[in-house]
Symmetry: C2
Subunit: 134 residues, 2 copies
């Protein structure tokens, strides 16, 4: 049994400093994806970014997971907006870009979203504070 | 770069028999969750079920992931319907039930969804064939 975004903050130690952990999923709202499609793409980005984060700091990834997988789903309204943010965030946060295989709803290879983290919450917020919730 | 539900089937060998792999997320459509909330809960279920599946058959979990994370998001319309299906599926498929921490939109502890698999596609389909896509 696990809990999403518990009342407590997810915390991990990095170089002796206590930090809160969060994952952000940034998704395109301009593609006309249905809610099921969006949910599937979000899950894809979440798992892929988690697997990257795991390779960089296994303890922090596990702690984020065990403490409730605090995450936020945010929207952008163009491919350019998505890619621009992805290019910036991937320099300091484990990020995974998702392209749809195009079996349903979208053209093959359409870039739909990306996952960032889990990573220190303040790092995530630095890039995402202007974005709106999906 | 990864692809969701590629044109190819995800395949793994189980006891020498080739099998296609899929994950299903079953989510309640009766809670009035917004699309962002649903996407977050789906991601939570997807990762939690994947982590369970990993512990049961690491090679199959990895293969499903590498070949595109084929997944399907399906809906039910009551807690009873969700729990009834969860109890059946968990007997032969790695499943993870998600309760919301209730910070936004829902009461704390509300059961929102569960993830099943990745597991053999035919096993997933046996339980989900009557359900509609989210």
């Amino acid at each position: 049994m696990s809990f999403l975004a518990g009342g407590f903050a997810c915390k991990a130690y990095c170089k002796g400093i206590l930090m809160a952990l969060k994952q952000a999923i940034i998704i395109r709202a301009d593609l006309g994806m249905g809610k099921g499609k969006m949910a599937g793409q979000t899950a894809h980005a979440s798992l892929s970014a988690y697997r990257k984060a795991e390779r960089e700091d296994l303890d922090a990834a596990r702690q984020w997971e065990e403490e409730g997988q605090k995450k936020i789903v945010l929207k952008v309204t163009s491919e350019e907006g998505l890619l621009s943010l992805f290019e910036k965030m991937k320099k300091e946060i484990p990020c995974a870009l998702i392209r749809d295989a195009g079996r349903t709803q979208l053209e093959p290879g359409t870039i739909t979203c990306f996952g960032a983290g889990p990573a220190e919450e303040s790092k995530i917020n630095k890039y995402t504070k202007e974005l709106k919730l999906l």
